[in-house]
């Protein structure tokens, strides 16, 4: 019996090749998109789920209340971690980490190690990162102990055993000992490092007393609770703990931190702290929904085409019933056919996914999977899913087809009922609703991306090359040498450039009422030429100037937002007021125009600038566009001559600034791709339905032509039905898309308005695509010779 089903299913597929192709292609595209999204979602959900003590690891985050704002640093102050250990019986261990970029040298091999991490010695006790060589309990026990990842070992030591060997760290050349080798940290961890350096190198050697600094932030602190300990009650004890340890200082500074616990395995997707390493549960949801939608569209195609063709299958159903088939057997047969189609699509999906995976990895910016065949479980799941899809998509057509009464269908009195037509229309509308909503969303995502890239940021970022001297003492000499080069227009030094990180400083600024107001001000250390270099306008007062001796220590420039936050009505009023910041006191000499020193997702925050040559390690070089490669190599040779110990590396500011939108751009690209897929599948379905309905109306078309209908009349007749459906879809999709994208845009402090023409464009695009799809069939039918078409009955 099965053999017979397969035989007839296969022959049916082959006889109606076009329909089969549309069905299989649609399902393949849908299943491939779904499978890739599944890999992405699974990967996002897998972050830091591999720690065996994961359910007991918490990340401590911190809100700091000041009179003017609530600051949200990534972790608590340095003192919290070590003091929790003694104070609470339920704490098994704490680890502090902090990211850094350290200069590492071994003989001639030198790298600015981008993924350096300072870590407490309990690191391997808390997290499940595998130490291949060395003792996990002691590897980070002493100052200047280093654990390398396998890749780092390869880079510095090749194939020789690194344990006990030494490397030179930082510009000062501290000698550090390799005490361990760990497996490369998997990509699905928020903690990323190629090199771990013992934390007490910092806390005992470089910055003694760091362990007792309650007002110094900038590390991440994790706590491992003992089994059975209650996290909530532990969290409730933390305010009293802070009060006891640091109450006086809190009052004195007027800064009140609150400590909170985040489950570490959930931090990646759910954290309220925006990490460069963090993901977004919202994107996971969005893509999951998109995946379901695409699959739905593909299933709808299947249902549509199968039920539309039911008239053809009706005769077969009738005959089978007459010769003894029961309804159950027929249902099984049709579901079997649909499962078979899905299994063919399954095989094609495997091939397509294997082909697309590398570019999808690239698009996602991470290695979601090394290959489709890497994990047989996924293939098994996909296999089962295809059978499930076959069952679901095949169930309705099977029930419809198997319910035909042989008397009716064998007498040729058969017509697809109004219910079937209504259902098909409904499904087409749903497909196009989804597609149009995706088109609208894609347009808005793209406009927003474009807006962010083309927005006037308030500073000039073109032809600006930025070199990180990492504070090398020879940087002044390097700056002088570069200034003399042809094609170098100007050079400036600073602690930060727009789009990068910057310091936050505890400050007191005289406000409009004359009171010294406490604030955490973003701070740039700059030199005299910085504002000119970046073309940042001064709206009141003056720029830093070499003519004023006091400018190096007693002058500050604020931005407009800062001035506003201190209550001044006009920037002019702030000029000449007092400041007190990090031990320096002096006057505000000028107010600069607001510029976007962070991404456009964030509002422009209050910013202060001061001259501080020791704090400036970034060298910005404005170069002319001519002969760029030779200019760069000229700068590099100056570097090699003056700072040979450090590798030369640079970036261009415009690209660097755009890097901030990397994840949004990825999001946009992924979205675009899936929107296109949705449209393609919908169109395949429309094509199938159109060609089918045209086929069915061949006789009607013939009669109409005989009676004098012109070709445009006929094309109209055949297209108008489908266009109405697309029109309804536009009406449904627009408010849905508006609502969704309105919410999405809330994440951007600076955003585009959602204007009516976006909907118009999407509507026109969808209509044109639908017309092209349908009219191809319609024209073919319209130009056919009526004599022929009349003979088909």
């Amino acid at each position: 019996m099965l053999k017979n089903y397969f035989k007839i299913a296969f022959r049916n597929l082959w006889r109606h090749r076009v329909f089969s192709l549309i069905n299989i292609l649609g399902l393949t595209v849908g299943m491939t998109a779904c499978f890739l999204i599944f890999l992405y979602v699974r990967f996002e959900l897998s972050y830091d789920k591999f720690h065996s003590k994961g359910d007991r690891i918490y990340r401590i985050i911190c809100d700091i209340k000041t009179p003017t704002e609530v600051m949200k640093p990534g972790g608590p102050s340095w003192a919290v971690g070590p003091h929790l250990m003694g104070g609470f019986p339920q704490v098994e261990a704490t680890v502090r980490t902090t990211d850094d970029e350290l200069l590492v040298r071994r003989g001639n091999v030198k790298f600015q190690e981008k993924k350096s991490l300072w870590a407490d010695s309990s690191f391997f006790q808390v997290f499940d990162f595998k130490l291949i060589k060395g003792n996990p309990h002691t590897a980070l026990n002493d100052p200047l102990n280093v654990v390398f990842s396998e890749s780092a070992v390869k880079k510095y030591f090749g194939n020789t055993d690194p344990i006990g060997q030494t490397i030179l760290l930082t510009g000062e050349g501290f000698t550090a000992k390799i005490t361990g080798v760990m497996k490369d940290i998997p990509e699905n961890s928020m903690i990323q490092a190629d090199m771990l350096v013992s934390m007490n190198t910092l806390t005992r050697k470089l910055n003694p007393n760091l362990d007792n600094q309650w007002g110094n932030y900038g590390n991440r602190t994790y706590v491992l609770l003992k089994p059975g300990a209650n996290a909530a009650s532990f969290e409730k004890q933390l305010p009293a703990f802070l009060e006891k340890m640091n109450g006086t200082e809190m009052k004195q500074l007027n800064m009140y931190p609150t400590l909170m616990l985040e489950k570490f395995p959930e931090a990646y997707l759910h954290s309220t702290r925006n990490d460069s390493n963090s993901g977004s549960i919202k994107n996971v949801y969005i893509f999951s929904i998109v995946a379901v939608f695409i699959l739905l569209i593909a299933c709808f195609n299947f249902i549509n085409l199968t039920t539309a063709r039911s008239a053809e299958r009706a005769k077969e159903v009738g005959i089978r019933k007459v010769v003894g088939a029961g309804r159950r057997q027929l249902t099984a047969q049709f579901i079997g056919e649909s499962i078979m189609i899905c299994l063919i699509a399954f095989l094609l999906t495997l091939a397509a996914a294997a082909l697309l995976l590398p570019s999808f990895n690239q698009l996602a910016g991470k290695t979601l999977s090394n290959g489709v065949f890497e994990n047989w479980r996924f293939i098994g799941m996909l296999f089962l899913a295809s059978i499930g899809i076959g069952l679901l998509a095949g169930l309705y057509p099977a029930l419809v087809l198997s319910s035909f009464r042989p008397v009716t269908v064998l007498k040729g009195r058969f017509s697809t009922g109004a219910k079937g037509i209504l259902l098909r229309r409904g499904l087409v509308i749903s497909q196009f609703t989804i597609s149009i909503a995706l088109i609208i969303s894609t347009i808005i995502v793209y406009l927003q991306m474009n807006f962010m890239r083309s927005q006037d940021l308030g500073f000039s970022k073109d032809q600006m090359m930025v070199i990180n001297s990492n504070g090398d003492p020879a940087r002044d000499a390097f700056v002088h040498a570069v200034e003399g080069l042809p094609n170098v227009k100007s050079v400036s030094m600073s602690s930060s450039v727009p789009g990068g990180g910057n310091m936050g400083a505890y400050s007191k600024i005289q406000n409009a009422k004359g009171v010294m107001q406490i604030a955490n001000l973003d701070l740039y250390f700059v030199d005299f030429d910085y504002l000119k270099q970046f073309n940042i306008k001064v709206v009141a007062g003056r720029m830093f100037s070499r003519q004023f001796m006091t400018d190096t220590t007693q002058a500050m420039i604020l931005n407009e937002s800062a001035v506003k936050s201190f209550g001044y009505r006009s920037p002019q009023d702030a000029v000449g007021r007092d400041f007190d910041q990090w031990g320096r006191r002096g006057k505000i000499i000028g107010v600069m125009k607001d510029f976007h020193f962070k991404s456009l997702q964030e509002e422009i925050k209050p910013l202060s600038m001061r001259i501080e040559p020791n704090g400036c390690s970034l060298v910005s070089v404005k170069v002319s566009a001519n002969n760029l490669p030779s200019t760069i190599s000229a700068i590099e040779s100056k570097w090699n001559a003056l700072i040979p110990a450090r590798p030369f590396s640079y970036f261009f500011l415009d690209e660097f600034f755009d890097e901030q939108y990397k994840s949004e751009q990825r999001f946009g690209k992924l979205f675009l791709n899936f929107a296109i897929l949705a449209i393609i599948i919908s169109c395949l379905g429309l094509l199938g339905l159109a060609s089918y309905s045209t086929m069915q109306r061949t006789r009607e078309i013939g009669i109409r032509k005989v009676l004098g209908a012109t070709i445009p009349n006929i094309v109209n007749l055949l297209s108008i039905d489908f266009l109405t459906l697309v029109g309804i879809a536009i009406i449904i999709a627009s408010p849905i898309a508006w609502f969704a994208m309105h919410k999405w845009l809330q994440d951007f402090a600076y955003r585009i308005p959602i204007s009516w023409w976006i909907f118009a464009v999407a509507a026109v695009a969808a209509t044109i695509i639908a017309i092209l799809t349908v009219s191809f069939q319609a024209i073919k039918a319209a130009v056919a010779n009526p004599v022929k078409s009349l003979r088909t009955e």
């Binding site: 035989k7 077969e316 005959i319 019933k321 010769v323 029961g326 057997q329």
Partner: protein, 225 residues
């Protein structure tokens, strides 16, 4: 074998009510060959559908082998049908996607006959119908007469007690038509009961008895043998 009494069937659309069978009664004995004749719309096909358990009467009694089957549900009808009744249609009604062999095999599959046995019986039947050489062809590749022979083969392969033929020669030329009638006569002589609807007086003459219908009722019965 068949006994119907006061059988009624009414087709209703929104405005029109058509009485297809109007208190129809007659009986067919086992081994009989009965022809049903009458003008278009007299209720012949409705009768055949009810006799074939494809359709259910509105009222009246229908005894099949002594069992009352009027009011049987679809599944029971289907079960009775596949064991006892074979159909031959005017338009052959072969499945285009299946070969000659596979078309004939179909009833045996639904009866759950084993593969070897099926092959034997189908080949036997094809041999008998002289279309063995066409066993791997598809229906479209055959002439009308050949197609109807396949249809007859399919109707009798599971050795039904009753064959219902609905204008079996309607789509055939006279020589092919005669061949099919000979086949039916042979089957009848081997014991199969046959009820045939036809427009053709010539074909009706092959039967033992002619039931003439008009407006859902029997008008006359001619006994030929």
């Amino acid at each position: 074998m068949i006994k119907i009494h006061d059988l009624e069937k009414v087709y209703r659309t929104e405005e029109v009510e058509t009485i297809a069978l109007n208190k129809l009664s007659f009986a067919v004995k086992e081994g009989e060959f009965v022809a049903v004749m009458g003008p278009s719309g007299c209720g012949k096909s409705t009768l055949l559908n009810i006799l074939g358990l494809l359709d259910d009467p509105d009222s009246g009694s229908f005894l099949f082998n002594g069992i009352e089957v009027a009011g049987f549900n679809e599944r029971k009808r289907a079960d009775l049908r596949k064991r006892n009744i074979g159909f031959v249609f005017q338009s052959f009604n072969l499945i285009d996607e299946l070969t000659v062999f596979e078309n004939v095999e179909l009833p045996l599959i639904y009866l759950g006959v084993k593969g070897d046995e099926r092959k034997k019986r189908v080949e036997e039947m094809l041999d008998k119908m002289q279309i063995m050489h066409r066993r791997n062809h598809y229906p479209q590749q055959l002439s009308g007469g050949q197609q109807q022979r396949v249809a007859v083969a399919r109707a009798v392969v599971n050795k039904p007690k009753l064959i219902l033929a609905d204008e079996p020669t309607g789509n055939l030329d006279s020589s092919n038509g005669n061949e099919v009638m000979e086949l039916l006569t042979d089957l009848n002589e081997q014991g199969t009961t046959i009820i045939m609807v036809t427009h053709s007086e010539h074909d009706a003459r092959y039967s033992h008895r002619i039931i003439r219908m008009l407006d859902g009722q029997t008008v006359t019965e001619n006994i030929l043998v």
